[in-house]
Amino acid sequence: MFCDMESLLACVGSQCIFCTGKELANISHLSKKHLKDAVYFNINNEEKFVVACFCKDSKWTSRSHYHCPHCKFRAFTRSAVFKKHLKSKHGDEDFEWEPPSEAEMKVIQARRERQDKISKLMGDYLLKGYKMLGDCCDVCGTILLQDRQQKKYCVSCQELDSDIDKDNPALNAQAALSQVRERQLAAQSPAPSQTPELNGGPSNGQPSVSVPQPRPEHCEGAAAGGRALLPPPAVPPPPAAPSTTALAPTRPAVCPQNPALRPVLQEAEEAVLTKLRWATTQLQGAASLEASIQLCSLITSCANSLRSLKELSQ
């Protein structure tokens, strides 16, 4: 439960505490993913809000849920139900049933479509001779099917794209493929990284690589850093890390060579450099693989943006 934005932003860190996967908890991530779905209410004439989380404290570990601040053990998966609970149990009169907001409508619509897709897939499997069991999947709650070889099969986990695991290379073949491509690209990038120009592989190779668009929240920082110029790359390989740290010190050396830049470009450069510095410090302290990967991608994008800015200024 939070009172205002600042206290929410205090949760900025390398690991988002509200997400189930390893998420970089920066401002954009927090505001785009969590603040948007927060439930507002009044306590003693103070407006507060509760943000959805994926923690393991409640029985809903794979669905986002809200914890009621009054009755700490209750968790709700739907914001409408949570509001109703607040109104009925804790006397918040401000929340009558109102028609769902547009965000909620989108969520409801998406959920309904997903449910329809699941039903259609299950119907197809039933017609192929699969058996509908009386059990539900532990992860998602869908009814399980069993094929002729007595193997259990969950349609939504194994066939439909799950919301979270799309970019995990261990689970998704496409993400793994893109990781392989990135690794190949990074193998070309150490060569031109020693030269001050850095017009080599990374900038030319990346736009031609057709990587699947990852969820924007995964690399928010990278997106913020490199949005003006290039689509953010998916997963840069770890071997790029030592080369990019080599990049970082060379970068500041390049830029001061052009003191006659226009103020806007200079500001942009400074912003990118700040981000680059920050990312470097973070990378030095990063303990997990995912975080390192994302930081490296951020650094790469920063490098690219600096290069483009440099080209612009010339």
Binding site: V81, G123, M132, G134, I143
Partner: protein, 635 residues
């Protein structure tokens, strides 16, 4: 061991899955499902009941739904896919309404429980509304747009306009069930069959009921021929071969008797104790005993010969001695005849089967016009000639039919007529199909058509007591007639002629293609507006609107390929006989609605499902902490 889950969500998902299964076969544009077995047998079917029963379902809710569908279709013969569609859309609407306004009047453990309770409450209200007001609504608002074809018109000539409507009704039924190609031929054949059997009684739909109950004995499936070889033949076909060589007969009425027991007492059955040589001075042995039985048999056969009996029908397999003696006496013998056929034979001929072969009364003897073998089937199969017989003069005793009559008709029969003497020439239906599966499908389609016709012409009494009885009947009607018979308290003499008391006239048919749903939708909306306008009690208002919006899902699916036509049909209120979507029966639709609402109520009463690893005894039900009834699944 119990596995716990949120049942409210899974009602919708289970029925949603079943809906996805049948959607592709629904409507006039629907496709067929090809079933294959591991043995290589294949069958094409569009029948919703067939498809649903062929699925492998272990989920108890799914099995419950399929059971409801099957029971419904054994009564009305039609509408199983529409059942699932309506069920799914009703559950969705109830779910939406319940999550919007969960009751907070009672205290529940969680909001899910509150929603489930609201849903249950809504379903009960819906069912109460349907039982009380729906038939009046249909009779006043919907039925006037249709046409009432009375049974008397139908039993007139073959090519009268009423007959034309019935044929069109049958044609649209067969079109949906079997496809476009042969539906005209099959509907003509069915009409012919009905015409031959209709003079069985003066009561309007008695012939339909008779056909419905005796259909297995009246039809003969023959595989290996195209469907267009199906035809009617005179007489009843008994599906057994002669056990003795068939002698030539000259033209005289052939007398036949039916035996239910063994003619020669069996010597050595398990558990029998044969005391030989007791109480007498002479020594007796088994040989003497068997000689004695043979002598008694000879007497019996001589007795039959003196009565002029030349055909013997038997339920059980008789011994070789009997057959030998019958051959010697030039009598034909057929054994192992099935019970259905024998009962039909008994009803048609008026002869009661003989249980005690030493007392043969004249009432046991049936008179036949002819009796001959028939070869049905291709030569490459085993030659299994059938033989057929027909009855010239038929005496139908009312008491033969007591077991199968609806109570209102019992009144009419007992009060007015006791013995009915009607001349009827029975006709049998030979149904041909290319493979066994196809033939079976055609036979089922015929049977369902007769059930559908029966439901259409059955009068629906509108009194309060019988309306209450219908709650028992509408879902599980297979044993309803015996149920109803035992309840003699509702038999009043004022209920003489049910036809005049009906609000919903029997024989009401409408154009198909969603007309019924549209009209009922408008009627329900009008009702809800008038209820809210008159500040009436709040019961009818939300439920009628809920039902109205749920009803629209059916025409939406029918016109799913052309939404423009959906809108067009929706806005036209007058009777649309010009559209060539065929005809459908209003009574069947009404029964369908009631059955769906009952199914919804029973589904939503399920709170939790317990999985057990051993079979439970029916007496001991594990009790749980939940408030309502539980379903127990055996695993």
């Amino acid at each position: 061991m119990c596995s716990f889950f949120c049942p409210f969500m899974s009602h919708g998902s289970v029925v949603g899955v079943l809906e996805a299964v049948i959607l592709r076969s629904f409507g006039p544009e629907g496709g067929q499902v090809l079933f294959t077995r591991d043995t290589g047998q294949a069958m094409l079917s569009r029948s919703g009941t067939h498809i649903l029963r062929a699925l492998h379902l272990e989920h108890p809710l799914a099995r419950m739904v399929v059971e409801c569908v099957w029971k419904h279709s054994t009564v009305t013969g039609d509408g199983s896919k529409t059942f699932i569609l309506l069920l799914a859309s009703l559950l969705r609407k109830i779910h939406t309404t319940a999550s919007r306004e969960p009751h907070v009047s009672h205290s529940y453990n969680s909001l899910e429980a509150a929603e489930a309770a609201t849903a249950r409450h809504l379903a009960d209200k819906l069912l109460a509304f349907a039982l009380k007001e729906l038939d009046d609504l249909i009779a006043m608002e919907v039925a006037p747009h249709g046409r009432c074809v009375s049974w008397e018109d139908f039993t007139a000539e073959m090519h009268s306009p009423a007959n034309h409507y019935v044929q069109k009704l049958l044609a649209s039924f067969f079109h949906m069930r079997l496809g476009y190609v042969h539906c005209a031929f099959i509907s003509e054949l069915t009409c012919e069959l009905l015409n031959h059997w209709k003079c069985i009684d003066n009561l309007p739909y008695f012939a339909l009921q008779f056909l419905k109950d005796n259909f297995p004995a009246i039809h003969t499936p023959v595989s290996g021929f195209p469907i267009t070889s199906s035809r009617l033949i005179e007489g009843q076909v008994i599906h057994r071969d002669f056990a003795t060589p068939y002698p030539q007969t000259d033209h005289q009425p052939i007398k036949a008797v039916v035996f239910t027991g063994y003619l020669q007492p069996r010597l050595l059955n398990t558990g029998d104790v044969l005391e030989v040589g007791c109480g007498g001075t002479e020594e007796r042995s088994i040989v003497d005993f068997s000689a004695w039985t043979e002598r008694s048999l000879q007497c019996l056969i001589a007795n039959l010969q003196s009565l002029g009996v030349s055909v013997l029908l038997s339920v059980v397999k008789q011994s070789a001695a009997v057959l030998a003696l019958a051959t010697q006496a030039e009598m034909c013998f057929v054994d192992c005849v099935s019970e259905d056929e024998l009962s039909l034979f008994a009803q048609l001929s008026g002869a009661t089967p003989i249980s005690d072969c030493w007392r043969i009364e004249p009432e046991h003897i049936a008179e036949l016009t002819f009796c001959r073998p028939i070869l049905l089937g291709p030569h490459r199969y085993e030659n299994m000639p059938f033989f057929s017989l027909t009855c010239k003069a038929t005496h139908l005793h009312a008491k033969n039919y007591l077991g199968t009559i609806h109570t209102s008709h019992l009144q009419t029969l007992v009060a007015d007529v006791f013995i009915i003497r009607v001349k009827v020439k029975p006709y049998s239906l030979i149904i041909c199909g290319s493979g066994e599966g196809q033939t079976d499908q055609y036979a089922c389609a015929f049977q369902d058509a007769i059930r559908m016709l029966f439901t259409t012409w059955e009068p629906i009494p509108a009194t309060g007591t019988t309306a209450a009885k219908r709650t028992v009947q509408s879902d599980k009607r297979t044993s309803s007639y015996t149920h109803v018979l035992t309840d003699s308290s509702t038999c009043t003499s004022s209920n003489l002629n049910p036809l005049h008391k009906c609000v919903l006239q029997p024989g009401c048919i409408m154009p198909a293609g969603g007309t019924f749903e549209f009209l009922l939708h408008h009627a329900l909306l009008k009702l809800s507006h008038s209820c809210s306008a008159s500040n009436d009690t709040n019961i009818g208002v939300p439920v009628s609107r809920l039902l109205a919006s749920a009803l629209l899902s059916v025409p939406k699916q029918i016109y799913s390929h052309s939404p423009g036509q959906f809108l067009q049909t929706r806005t036209r209120h007058n009777a649309i006989f010009t559209q060539d979507m065929g005809l459908e029966s209003v009574s069947c639709k009404y029964e369908l609605l009631l059955a769906v609402l009952q199914c919804v109520t029973s589904l939503l009463r399920v709170d939790t499902i317990l999985r057990t690893h051993t079979a439970l005894h029916t007496q001991s039900l594990a009790d749980t902490s939940w408030e309502s009834t539980e379903d127990e699944a055996e695993n």
